[in-house]
């Protein structure tokens, strides 16, 4: 092999960079479960699978309905009517901000802008 030094340094740097997904984890902790604290009620506005995947879209829609169309009523898939309100509907059950919202959002680096207008619920309220 020629230019051994330069090539070896190159290989080491390249392999280090390309394999980084495998070793950057060492600088953090393990992540085996979300650790979400579920509220006591079994039913949400829509079923759990839908809520997991689409809650951000639902909230976005609610905001538009409430603030732009002044419509405060949401009809769920099962026909049940809900008041469109973060404070009065969602946060009635989901009281634990750190244990519920933050759990997934922090780990997956999601920064919703709910709290630019709303007040972040504090523990024990």
């Amino acid at each position: 092999m020629y230019n051994k030094k330069a090539v070896c340094i190159g290989i080491v740097i390249l392999v280090a960079l390309l394999s980084s997904p495998f070793w950057v984890g060492l600088f953090g902790t393990d992540y085996k479960e979300t650790g979400v604290v579920k509220p006591n009620q079994d039913a949400c506005v829509e079923d759990a699978a839908f809520m997991r995947a689409q809650h951000m879209r639902l909230l976005n829609e609610w905001r538009d309905q409430a603030l732009r169309n002044e419509n405060r009523t949401y009809v769920a898939a099962n026909g049940k009517k809900w008041e469109i309100s973060l404070q009065n509907t969602c946060m009635k059950c989901h009281t634990n901000y750190a244990g519920f919202c933050q759990k997934c959002h922090l780990s997956n680096s999601v920064s919703p802008y709910c709290w630019t207008c709303h007040i972040i619920p504090t523990e024990g309220k």
Binding site: K4, G28, A53, N60, K103
Partner: protein, 339 residues
């Protein structure tokens, strides 16, 4: 061209079906491990393969004025005579695609006004440069954004990239510019190959396949974020399992699209070292770029330099001695005096 598309679609379909019939472990665990291994080993082997051959001659392309007289300004980075200059030249080449930036397009005019006849003009043409740069940088940023799945807690630099990338605050989840631009750039590169007559002529399956594959990866990725959503908390648990070599898949709710995305990425990794994509490490090896232009100042050594064999001066004089003597040219040995 269509063949390559079909192959990519087929790979996607196989992965999808696999995830449906319970082969998630094969496509989600086995394949990614194999792919990463093939990728890393393949790239290192390719680099060693190159390094096994010497660079017998220093052949830098001089892209500007050489270093010569004091009063003549040297192009220090396009024609670098020092190591530092070469480093800058390589940085410009790798990070800004300096050579491609020079690109021109030759346009011919049958009846040019200025010269009253046939004329060719070489216009600056930056499209290829722009879109390839766009593609590579978007790809880099998208890759970096994925680090939110590789480390817990997510470092602030990754969040910062996301904040910048999503600064338009469109929709929820927020639209990331780079994802969209990546697709735009890829479509441009593909359209070039399809609609530009010359590029179409030189394009092979080896050119279309990686483009379709990348488009497949980007589209499936966009789907996972905006349409057929993956549950990212579950994805993160799964990915962290993979990277910590303790893969878990039981009880995780991973959708088909995610398996498709992962399979296409694995395909890319396996394909990479055996294709033109090795231009990534290759560009650093390029002897026309990575050598200083001080070739008259420092001797470059060729390890297989053959012994000198040439028509020597004594042989020359032996051949022409009499004629040279007659012409009065100086000689090492005077001709024999004939009586």
């Amino acid at each position: 061209m269509l063949e390559s598309l079909l192959v990519v679609l087929l790979i996607g379909a196989v992965a999808w079906i696999g995830s449906c019939i319970g082969l998630t472990a094969v496509f989600g665990i086995l394949l990614p491990y194999v792919a990463v291994l093939v990728f890393l080993v393949g790239i290192v082997r390719r680099m060693i393969y190159w390094a096994k051959s010497p660079v017998p001659f220093a052949i830098p392309t001089t892209g500007g004025q050489e270093r010569s007289l004091d009063f003549i300004k040297q192009e220090k980075f396009d024609c670098p005579s020092t190591k530092f200059g070469v480093v800058i030249r390589m940085i410009l080449e790798v990070c800004l695609f300096r050579s491609l930036f020079r690109n021109t397009q030759a346009c011919s005019f049958e009846n040019d006004q200025a010269t009253g006849g046939y004329r060719v003009v070489y216009y600056s043409s930056k499209w290829l440069w722009f879109f390839s740069l766009l593609f590579h940088y978007c790809f880099l940023i998208v890759f970096l954004r994925h680090f939110r799945f590789f480390i817990e807690p997510v470092p602030c630099c990754v969040s910062f990239i996301e904040a910048v990338d999503g600064f338009l605050q469109i929709g929820a989840p927020r639209f990331f510019l780079t994802g969209g631009l990546l697709l735009v750039a890829l479509v441009f590169l593909l359209c070039r190959r399809i609609f530009n007559e010359r590029i179409r002529y030189i394009s092979l399956a080896n050119d279309y396949f990686p483009l379709w594959l990348l488009i497949g990866i980007v589209v499936s990725g966009l789907c996972l974020r905006y349409f057929d959503k993956a549950e990212i908390a579950q994805v993160k648990i799964f990915i962290m399992g993979l990277t910590h070599f303790s893969p878990v898949i039981q009880g995780l709710d991973l959708n088909g699209m995610f398996i498709v995305h992962l399979t296409l990425v694995s395909t890319l990794l396996i394909y990479f070292p055996y294709s033109k994509l090795v231009h990534m490490p290759g560009v650093f090896f390029s002897p026309t770029r990575n050598l200083p232009t001080n070739t008259r100042e420092v001797r470059h050594i060729n390890p297989w330099n053959p012994p000198k064999q040439f028509f020597t001066y004594p042989e020359y004089e032996d051949t022409y001695r009499d004629a040279m003597a007659q012409a009065g040219l100086p000689l090492e040995k005077q001709p024999d005096k004939k009586s």
